[in-house]
């Protein structure tokens, strides 16, 4: 996406943004859902999108950047079309979560959050995903995947668009 291209929400997303505003007393509270919305549309959140959001919401750019850098699921670097979250917290680690994470990086010849060459996936190790009962667990975009081993993980990831 070139910087010269005009960046803005689609009409549908703008309507969703307007709806977010009605949920909270102050506009800062609407920032998190808006950032997720923007990430859904643009993939990640580079400076020019932060600038657009800052103008749209009237929040200083640096405040938006603070929020983006604070949360792991908001990306200020380019990511692939699909995000693979691998839990490496204590329960999942005991069941081999870290080995799965390392195995996936090796299999797809990539690094933490770096998109694969075809831009299809980014792999990110996460703290607790809150699904210890199905450890070791993963998240493929918004779907949980539990009790996985490396082979099923690769199989499932290959099915992603």
């Amino acid at each position: 996406m070139s910087k010269l291209e005009k960046i803005e929400f689609t009409a549908e997303n703008l309507a969703r943004y307007k709806e977010y505003l009605t949920r909270y007393d102050d506009i800062e509270s609407a920032l998190l859902p808006t950032l997720h919305l923007a990430q859904e549309q643009f993939g990640w959140l580079p400076d020019h999108i932060v600038k657009y959001l800052a103008e749209l919401m009237g929040i200083p750019e640096i405040h938006i950047k603070e929020v983006i850098s604070f949360y792991d699921m908001l990306y200020d670097t380019p990511v692939g079309r699909n995000i693979v979250h691998v839990c490496t917290n204590i329960t999942c680690s005991m069941f081999g979560g870290r080995e799965i994470y390392q195995g996936l990086l090796k299999h797809y010849e990539t690094d933490f959050l770096t998109p694969t060459r075809d831009g299809r996936i980014s792999i990110q190790k996460m703290e607790c995903l809150g699904a210890c009962e199905i450890a070791p667990c993963m998240r493929l975009n918004n779907d949980f995947l539990g009790n996985v081993d490396l082979q099923t993980a690769i199989h499932k990831i290959d099915e992603l668009p």
Binding site: E61, H63, K65, S69
Partner: protein
């Protein structure tokens, strides 16, 4: 009149306004309380946890900066519990601090150093490696950032949010990766206040970096002559020269801050351009000469003076006393306005430090200080005149001053009263005679509020014993 309350801090009775900040009340009463994030000119953040106190009847320690003064409360911060709390907090502040004090400019006036000597644990319990961050970042406006030294007190981010409202700084990332980051570059004219409010050596001034150790400097409490605002400032200097200007708290004028333009007013004070005596123009080159020669040449000529607006009230007074009843012409050169009239904080477009004092002195002595009088004086310049031009110390608009110089060319004897050969156009003058700069004289100036502010003298870096009134004594010889 706000209600006063009395309370006890470590057994000492303190009187303060009801509901005012507890930490501020203690600090104002000369009690030393360790603190990093609290600054009287900023909002309360309560993030450094250094100013913890215990209060009778309150189960747990709490930070004094976030509490208010109440009648009869009994507060202590010298109990063993508080002491161990401060020690523990400080050891966390120092976890990732590089301890590069020998090369740090803040050394000698650093909060970490001061409190480490008092509350430090001395033996490190740290087994993990320190987190390293970028040590040399130019964040704009002459401010350098060393992210490693930062203790995240958030004074700087609050400054850009609350005082300048330009929102350039923020704290990015999380945990021990958190660091101060600038959005693009600093773009406000008050950025160097960040250097002053930074309690550690994270933000340093590019202008002052690596120039001088602070314990070799003496501070002269004086007034800024950069514009008509007249902020109270401290000039740090030693025998090698003046090195920096910092604001000093003045409730009525500048509060805690000053502008970046004002930080540069010290530069002409010491340096290669200063005059150590009279100088004569020999085909464009100024060479030292006996002042007596100028004196002789001026004899028998009509003396005309063009004063600047940067002199003190006392200098004007003495000057007019000297020429009283004598036939000298006097006019006032007023610096043109520069930039917007008022930027909303401190800087004003009127760059004349003592215009009000000058006008009053002219009026009292029966002279005209208007532009008409200056024009009249300039148009009547002839070869039988000796013209004395007092060169303003700070000239923002050189072209404007150069037009003045071009108008005095017809005079038989052209003398510049200046602290140094500051402009190349001063070569139009026949002689340069020395006068003191603002940190080399005692006196008052009148600021934009018609309030008197004092200039105080420190160390001399040139010939400073002769001021404008000395040269006024040459009239009617």
């Amino acid at each position: 009149m706000t209600e006063k309350v009395k309370f006890k801090w470590n057994g000492k009775e303190i009187e303060a306004d009801k509901g005012s900040n507890l930490l501020k009340a203690a600090l104002d009463n000369g009690i030393e309380v360790a603190h990093y994030c609290y600054h009287a000119g900023l909002s309360v953040a309560g993030v450094c946890r250094m100013c913890m106190v215990e209060q009778d009847g309150v189960p747990r320690p709490f930070p004094a900066c976030n509490a208010s003064c109440g009648e009869g409360i009994v507060v202590r911060n010298d109990t063993p519990k508080i002491k161990s709390s401060i020690e523990a907090t400080l050891s966390f502040h120092l976890l990732n601090h590089p301890l590069d004090c020998p090369v740090c400019d803040q050394a000698g006036e650093c909060g970490l150093q001061d409190y480490y000597m008092k509350h430090g644990q001395y033996d490190s319990q740290m087994v993990d490696k320190k987190v390293h961050k970028d040590k040399v970042q130019d964040i704009g406006r002459n401010v350098m950032l060393d992210a490693e030294r930062c203790i995240l007190c958030s004074r700087c981010t609050r400054f850009t949010e609350e005082v300048t409202k330009t929102h350039e700084l923020g704290i990015l990332n999380r945990g021990d990766h958190a660091e101060i980051t600038v959005n693009e570059k600093l773009k406000n004219n008050y950025a160097q206040n960040l250097v002053d409010i930074c309690p550690v050596g994270a933000l340093t001034s590019k202008d002052f970096r690596f120039k001088q150790r602070v314990w070799f400097l003496e501070e002269v409490q004086t007034t800024c002559i950069g514009c008509e605002t007249g902020c109270s400032v401290k000039v740090s200097e030693n025998k090698n020269g003046a090195f920096r200007v910092k604001p000093s708290y003045d409730h009525e004028v500048n509060g805690h801050w000053m502008c970046d333009d004002g930080r540069n007013i010290y530069k002409h004070v010491s340096g290669a351009l200063r005059l150590f005596g009279a100088q004569e123009n020999l085909n464009g080159l100024f060479v030292p000469v006996d002042e007596f020669k100028t004196h002789q040449l001026a004899k028998g000529k009509t003396l005309k003076f063009i004063l600047s607006t940067g002199l003190t009230n006392q200098e004007y007074e003495k000057f007019f006393e000297k020429i009283k009843g004598k036939s000298a012409q006097v006019a006032l050169y007023v610096l043109p306005n520069q930039g917007e009239d008022f930027d909303g904080l401190l800087t004003r477009g009127d760059k004349n430090p003592n215009l009000r004092g000058a006008r009053k002195a002219f009026e009292d002595a029966g002279y005209d200080s208007s532009q008409n009088a200056l024009d009249k004086l300039l148009s009547s310049v002839s070869s039988n005149d000796a013209i004395f031009v007092v060169v303003p110390e700070i000239i923002y608009n050189e072209d404007h001053f150069n037009t003045l110089i071009s108008k005095v060319e017809k005079a038989g004897l052209k003398i510049a009263l200046t602290h140094g050969e500051t402009l190349s156009t001063l070569r139009a003058f026949d002689f340069l005679l020395p006068i003191p700069t603002f940190v080399e004289k005692n006196g008052d100036i009148i600021n934009f509020q018609n309030k008197k502010r004092a200039l105080r003298s420190g160390i001399s870096y040139g010939e400073t014993s002769k001021d404008v009134s000395y040269y006024a004594g040459w009239v009617n010889l």
